[in-house]
């Protein structure tokens, strides 16, 4: 089976390509990326049977989202591996790393194996499980890193909950060195964030909602960087949301002592706490939406390389859970299907070049998670996202493929979305 993606603008940071090229796929692998219109085997490219005309579109390595909640096992009413991966695909994402806060928690190899098996059977895209740092995500004892790694986990995180005990975090960073796998830290000082539901400030006071100060995140970012320096472990900081966090990470990277990377999410560079003003539970997320100066700092952090990756922290919830009192609604945004549309705005606004954007959404997250994805190099898996950037559409959360319709971006007008997603050679064309 052979597919030709003809005359699209190929952006591939792994090979330094930015130009109009043809991409040839054969047997589920990238065969070659070549100058357009070149003949192959005496036959003109245009004559091939499976041709995707990509003229005027972007041809990118399949996007890699290293922070996704697929909810299965345990919370299938919110999302399943099947629906979550289908939503990813619709969003141009061909690989997802799924967080372990399921029920049971993915803190042992049987759960990892279950997820891998289910993903193999029903998954629409590639699934890479993230194992828990501690048993039951209770923050007390290390989970079986190497056994989970052998079963298919590529990173470890207690995401959704911080590792409160500094000694446990230290041990996690030390122990994971056996594998070279990153420890992904959800940075939150629970004593400062307790009971909080939005960013702390004048708005939280005037809405009568309990605030979470930026410092609840920043203190833990600083602690974990200090522990990464102490141990030499691989630290990846999840969902960076504040200006000071960006500063702390930037300074640490400059010192060059610690092995650290960081991600942020589209909502942290697209909207502010103002989205909460009408008690819109779809804007309730943890860490909370911050202020304009934070949004600006996040963008600058992306631009100057302080923040390596854009991940969605896709957190689908059932409508019944979100359609209630703000204090009682769960935190999270269904993000897979708006990720590229929102992120492309960074290119429009001159924050990132297209090359940088693809680094943050494919190449870097793949490298951080130790995957062989995020590239169009010959021989690699045929994961390709073809993005139409000249369309204009209104986000319709009710029609998300994901079970989670909880998006603060409903009815936003965006102009970039995948026209075709190819995952392991399988072609999905979107209307």
């Amino acid at each position: 089976m052979r597919v030709l993606i003809a005359e699209g603008r190929v952006i591939d940071p792994s090979q330094g390509i930015d130009g109009v090229r043809d991409v040839v796929i054969e047997d589920g692998k990238i065969k070659e990326v070549r100058e357009r219109g070149k003949r192959e085997g005496g036959k003109k490219a245009g004559g091939s049977r499976n041709v995707i005309a990509a003229e005027g579109m972007l041809v990118l390595p399949g996007l890699v989202d290293m922070h996704v909640h697929l909810r299965e096992p345990g919370f299938e009413y919110k999302e399943t591996i099947k629906t979550g991966t289908a939503a990813a695909l619709r969003g141009g994402i061909t690989s997802v790393c799924c967080m372990p806060n399921t029920n049971p928690v993915n803190d042992n190899s049987s759960v990892t194996e279950f997820i891998r098996k289910r993903a193999m059977q029903e998954g629409a895209c590639s699934v890479f499980p993230v194992g828990a740092i501690t048993k039951g995500q209770r923050g007390e004892e290390l989970a079986e890193f190497t056994m989970m790694y052998e079963a298919g986990c590529m990173a470890f995180s207690d995401d959704g909950r911080p590792v409160t005990d500094g000694m446990i975090m230290r041990r996690a960073l030390e122990y994971s060195k056996i594998l070279g796998a990153p420890v992904i830290s959800h940075c939150e000082d629970l004593s400062l964030s307790a009971g909080g539901v939005m960013n702390e400030g004048l708005l939280s006071v005037t809405l009568g909602l309990k605030g979470i100060p930026s410092q609840a995140e920043e203190i833990m970012v600083a602690r974990d960087i200090a522990l990464a320096e102490l141990t030499g472990g691989r630290l990846h900081i999840a969902h960076v949301s504040t200006a000071r966090s960006v500063e702390i990470i930037r300074a640490a990277k400059k010192r060059g002592i610690a092995d650290i990377t960081a991600e942020t999410c589209p909502h942290y560079f697209s909207i502010t706490e103002e989205a909460v003003r009408n008690y819109d539970t779809n804007a309730r997320v943890n860490p909370p939406l911050r202020r304009k100066r934070d949004v600006e700092a996040i963008m600058e952090g992306l631009r100057d390389g302080t923040i390596d990756a854009i991940a969605t922290d896709h957190a689908p919830h059932h409508m019944d859970e979100k359609q209630r009192e703000f204090d009682l609604a769960p935190s999270g945004i269904s993000g897979l299907e708006t990720s590229i549309g929102l992120s492309m705005r960074l290119v429009d606004d001159g924050v990132l070049s297209l090359m940088q954007l693809v680094e943050k959404m494919a190449f870097n997250p793949s490298a951080i998670a130790g995957l062989s994805k995020g590239t169009l190099k010959p021989g690699s898996d045929a994961d390709v996202t073809i993005v139409d950037t000249k369309t204009e559409y209104s986000v319709d959360a009710a029609r998300f493929v994901s079970k989670g319709k909880n998006s603060p971006f409903d009815s936003w007008v965006l102009h970039a979305r995948p026209a075709v997603t190819i995952c392991n050679g399988k072609v999905h064309r979107w209307e």
């Binding site: 400030g201 004048l202 006071v205 005037t206 809405l207 009568g208 909602l209 309990k210 009408n278 008690y279 019944d320 359609q323 209630r324 009192e325 703000f326 204090d327 009682l328």
Partner: protein, 307 residues
């Protein structure tokens, strides 16, 4: 005559015209309350429901009586706090009440924004009778009416609000209303309970009560919730009273005809000394009477919107 919105979710959502209209209407109803027969047929045939998710005696009774004075049928629907977390959703409960024919739903809820949520989902008029630590608009309106009666107007008054501002929906609603009507507002209390960011609203903040009371016309004391002690907001009620309790000595620091107000229920000897609470400067019982008039006005004006 009607308000611009179908609901009264908070003072934040009102403009000065709305506020003045409510106060003027309330002043009119006060005459009714002074009569022998304290009842008018203004809203005969309407149904109001008190939907209370928090225990309340005075506010609920005040709304109930206000509705009855207007010849409205009124039903009390009390829900225990535990069923907020489990059991029927707020939306389902409210839709049920609406389906029973209630045109006015008066809601008190421990979660901020609950009335706003209901207002979006219901056709009935929603009246906020206190939501979490957000607002308690009718309390502020009755406070304004009291101040207006005592001083002839709000503009130019210097008002000190003393106590747990952070968690007080009464304080919040009063701050917004007073600023809208051109009064000067001072917030006095421990820094743990008076967020410094509130200065951005245009108020002055004092932790030294003596300094804060200088030249004020109105002293509004807030109830201190004892359960806050032990959560680290202040060390003991004795220390609280020493620093922020209103005593006769402190009252002397304000303007000589300064009015003392308190939304009740009071903790005598914690935020206010008994002799001050019962003293001649105290307007605390007049506040209660005005509450009735203000709630009649709100019910009346919101019914007008619905025709």
């Amino acid at each position: 005559m009607s308000l611009k919105s179908k609901d009264l979710t908070g003072i934040k959502e009102l403009d000065t015209e709305d506020i003045e209209l409510i106060l003027d209407t309330a002043a009119g109803f006060k005459d009714v309350l002074g009569r022998d027969i304290k009842k008018v047929p203004a809203l005969r045939g309407k149904t109001a429901v008190n939907l209370f998710y928090e225990p309340s005696t005075r506010t609920r009774t005040s709304f109930e009586l206000a509705a009855k004075r207007l010849s409205t049928d009124v039903v009390n629907f009390s829900v225990s706090t535990s069923s907020v977390v489990k059991g029927e959703s707020l939306r389902d409960t409210a839709l049920t009440i609406q389906a029973l024919g209630a045109a006015l739903i008066i809601v008190r809820h421990p979660c901020s924004g609950a009335p706003h949520f209901l207002a979006r989902h219901l056709e009935a008029s929603v009246i906020n009778a206190g939501d979490g630590t957000d607002e308690h608009p009718t309390q502020a309106l009755l406070d304004l009416l009291t101040m207006r009666e005592k001083r002839g107007g709000i503009k130019g008054l210097e008002v000190a609000i003393v106590g747990d501002i952070l968690h007080s929906r009464v304080a919040k609603s009063n701050i917004y209303a007073l600023l809208k009507l051109g009064a000067g507002v001072r917030l006095i209390g421990p820094p743990t309970l008076v967020p410094s960011c509130m200065e951005e609203l245009g108020v002055r903040i004092f932790s030294d009560m003596d300094a804060g009371l200088e030249d004020v016309d109105i002293i509004m004391m807030l109830r201190i919730q004892m359960e806050r002690q032990g959560k680290g907001f202040f060390p003991s009620k004795e220390e609280y009273f020493k620093n922020w309790g209103l005593t006769a000595r402190r009252l002397m620091l304000a303007r000589k005809n300064a009015v003392v107000m308190h939304p009740g229920p009071m903790n005598r000897g914690v935020e206010i000394a008994s002799d001050v609470a019962d003293g001649r400067r105290s307007a605390i019982l007049e506040q209660v009477t005005n509450g009735l008039a203000v709630r009649m006005a709100v019910l009346y004006l919101l019914s007008g919107v619905k025709g």
